[in-house]
Subunit: 513 residues, 2 copies
């Protein structure tokens, strides 16, 4: 963390480059506010105008990011040996080049069309999901698929790769479809027997206490307290409600996360809040103060981002020590009579049920990854043309039956449950499981570095953990690629084994296996 990032000699080209990037990021942050508003406060009749706003802004941002001036300045900086000798500047320039090349490959018209179409498609999706009307959504998904294919063609992919690599690279630089396929297969190979053993065990932890009705107001107060305890700075951010929880690190001093509540599902809201707060802490602790708009102030990858949310949601939020703190805290917050019938062991077990669920975001840590593998396969099939959009519901339902043994009762709980495809975010889903993998691998390392971690969690103290994450993950921004970061932190490349070992060690005792 002590490497020099502000070079001493004057570098007018580097300064101007940073200023232009900051300006583009400022426009992007304006667009983020508007996107946040769309999900939280926008009146329905404003949807067409919102699509126009997003389109105009994204075209302006694209214009700035691809301006020939950036190319000129970048070339001058790359030829400057004193910048090359500075590790911070060198990493910054390497990533600026990556972004510039990627952005300049995308035609402005296509960027604009995608922004406008996805903004409308998200609205159609929301309505269609509510009315369980896939036919209404299908034409918009078809448009999105075509625009995504055009984007992938424009971005290009390496010799010997596949079209999907171009999309993956937007979220997980350096990762390939082939490597994900292999890692997912290895993970699946270990998960399938575990999930089968659980099903065969006959054990069914009691989860009825999770349905205890708790008023939304009480849940809001408790979730807000957890967010603060985790170390989120409420002066520099917000917690709101939206249909699909998300977090946006809009810019310095403005990180916004959302969650959602149901009276009879308070643990689900808590998990969702902890997940998004994991993202939010990463965003708040990236070095945006001096480097806003530069890769140094950005997340290493979507998978690394997801590792932060998953760690807080699962490795912290479903651990026994955490529940030793959380259950009494919940009782105190929700009222003395609430949840009288449950003890910490029972709460812990019920938070770690392994049971196939139709809904991805309600799934447990083990079967969740099967949801991701399904989406990874189906979205590649849609893009290759192998799976026409109209056949998506049938393919989805068939795969849910095969992998999870469940019947999909309607598309709202099937292929329309996620917002991602309506947003045009193809290539995004696999990063969720990559996040699980990174989280488990980091966790194994940090437990050795933080011997008091379990005791901290038992007291609802998260400062030690956050401090470690700040130093080892957050502060680096994109200084290292995700694989570099993983190796730097854990001494090894990404592997399916830490996640599998963690799940085995947790799930088997819960089910008496």
């Amino acid at each position: 963390m002590s490497e020099q990032t502000d070079v001493a000699a004057p570098h007018p080209a580097y300064d101007e480059l940073r200023r232009l990037l900051r300006e583009a990021a400022t426009l992007q942050s304006a667009s983020s506010i508007i996107g946040w508003d769309q999900e939280t406060h926008m009146p329905p009749a404003a949807a067409p105008l919102r699509a126009e706003q997003m389109a105009v802004l994204s075209s302006l941002i694209h214009e700035r990011r691809t301006s020939p001036r950036i190319g000129e300045l970048l070339a001058r900086c790359e030829g400057d040996p004193s910048l090359g000798a500075d590790p911070g500047a060198a990493a910054n320039l390497r990533e600026i080049r990556r972004d510039f090349d990627r952005h300049t490959r995308m035609p402005g018209d296509l960027v604009r069309e995608m922004a406008e179409t996805s903004s409308r498609a998200m609205h159609v999706w929301r309505d269609a999901r509510e009315r369980n009307d896939f036919a209404a959504f299908a034409p918009w998904l078809e448009k999105i698929v075509v625009l995504t294919q055009r984007s992938a063609e424009a971005l290009g992919w390496p010799e010997g790769g596949v079209m999907y690599d171009a999309l993956l690279d937007q979220f997980e630089p350096g990762m390939t479809t082939a490597e994900i396929t292999r890692t997912f297969q290895a993970l699946r190979g270990g998960l399938a027997p575990l999930i089968r053993a659980v099903a065969d065990s006959g054990v069914q932890p009691d989860v009825s206490w999770q349905r205890t009705p708790i008023s939304i107001a009480k849940q809001e107060a408790f979730n807000l307290d957890v967010v603060r305890r985790m170390g989120f700075d409420m002066d520099a951010g917000r917690l709101d409600v939206s249909a699909h929880p998300f977090c946006d690190g809009i810019g310095p001093g403005d990180t916004r996360l959302t969650t959602r509540y149901a009276e009879d599902q308070f643990p689900s809201a808590l998990s969702s809040t902890m997940h998004e707060t994991g993202h939010a802490l990463y965003e708040q602790n990236l070095p945006k103060g001096g480097h806003f708009g530069e890769p140094l102030a950005e997340a290493a990858s979507t998978g690394i981002h997801e590792s932060q949310s998953r760690m807080w949601e699962n490795l912290v939020g479903r651990s026994h020590p955490f529940w030793e703190w959380a259950l009494p805290a919940i009782r105190q917050s929700f009222g003395p009579s609430a949840l009288d019938s449950v003890d910490v062991d029972a709460a812990y077990r019920s938070m770690n049920v392994v049971e196939p669920n139709l809904i991805r975001i309600e799934s447990d840590e083990a079967t969740y990854n099967l949801h991701i593998m399904l989406r990874f396969d189906l979205e590649r099939a849609m893009l290759s043309g192998e799976l026409p959009v109209r056949d998506l519901p049938a393919a989805w339902n068939e795969r849910i039956r095969a992998d999870l043994g469940l019947e999909v009762p309607d598309d709202a709980r099937g292929c329309m449950q996620d917002i991602h495809w309506s947003m045009g975010a193809f290539g995004y889903f696999p990063t969720y499981t990559l996040g699980n993998l990174y989280a488990a691998q980091f966790w194994a390392t940090l437990r050795r570095a933080l011997p008091s971690l379990d005791d901290d969690l038992r007291r609802g103290e998260f400062g030690g953990l956050l401090g470690w994450l700040k130093e080892n993950v957050h502060a680096h921004g994109r200084r290292f690629t995700a694989p570099e970061l993983c190796e730097r932190i854990t001494g090894a490349r990404l592997s399916h084994e830490p996640l599998l070992r963690y799940l085995e060690a947790k799930v088997r005792p819960v089910y008496g296996l």
Copy 2:
């Protein structure tokens, strides 16, 4: 309303011009969302980023509005006789020319500096007002005054006019400092004896019922109901809370108003809500569908805009027939025991108390105008350099003593009570009294056109009134200037007399004069 606005012949230059204006308006609408967020939801630490966002956007908007391409297209359209023969297109082009000339006179750097400075100054003002610390605000107000002087110099003013004319013209085209000074003097000449007579009457209507504590939640429900009843389309807008209530007609399908609540001042929240809803109804009924971004879809002037808010707040909301509906409705909404001690006559009288108040927005319909005259005079003195910013509190307090007979206890309730100067909105205040004048003059006309108006109000029915306003005011956009609109609607130019007659007729009976 039946004039042709879409010309039949093809006009590529006119079409392109309209498209460019729509794009600039779309960016402006994005900036409006961000401005709304700043007042309602933004976390405090985001203030510096917000200032950057506003500055970048306003510079982009300015760039677009002043692009040479607009000038070329405009010149070509102005030379096209078939466009000149179409009344809608002719009015549109006349106003586009007005805007273009005004925008091109303002240097981009100045626009950007004003946007950034005012965004920060608003934050400083908010904090300073809270801590009653004028010294903290003064340096920012000085910056704003200097930037405003530079803006006025850039905009210019006619031979024989004064610098303030340049600022006025931004809000009330065609109005002059001289004409306002004359009209305000005539109004003052009639108001002073009325206010004196009230003070000498010894009558003090009982206003204690207004302090009845009503929970914010109940007030919110009632205010929302009133907003809907007035005809505001909640699918195309929102009602929120902010420190200083405002309304922003962001764009088609998105009109947002705010109000503010205190448990012991529900009539004040109601007045504020009705005021902003008056603005909001104008915005929702401007012909934005086909003409967004064009003058045809914009308000005639700030004074006309204010006439709409004042009419709903005062001429409707403080009338006897309205209270015949409102009092029982309030009782039903707030609970059976609330407000038992008041009857309609007493409620009506207490809503029409004339009594000097330190706070402009809590002032009655008569003394309110003295507040405006004071600000009109002091802001001109600050701009001319006659009144240094550091002497503002003393000058303010002196004038409040002379005009209203009150001692100002602190600057928070004195010269820091309004947001306007921190926003750089010099030249804006007089439009409030212009609004009162227009509202009274329109009201006199519409009462003759709507013989059932009082009966409608007694039933809480506002459709007839809204229909008349839509047809006679809203639908025209900027097709007519404010003076033209006034003459078209009332058959006469703006005069101080209708307002004075209306106040005399209402206030004297309340005070037994």
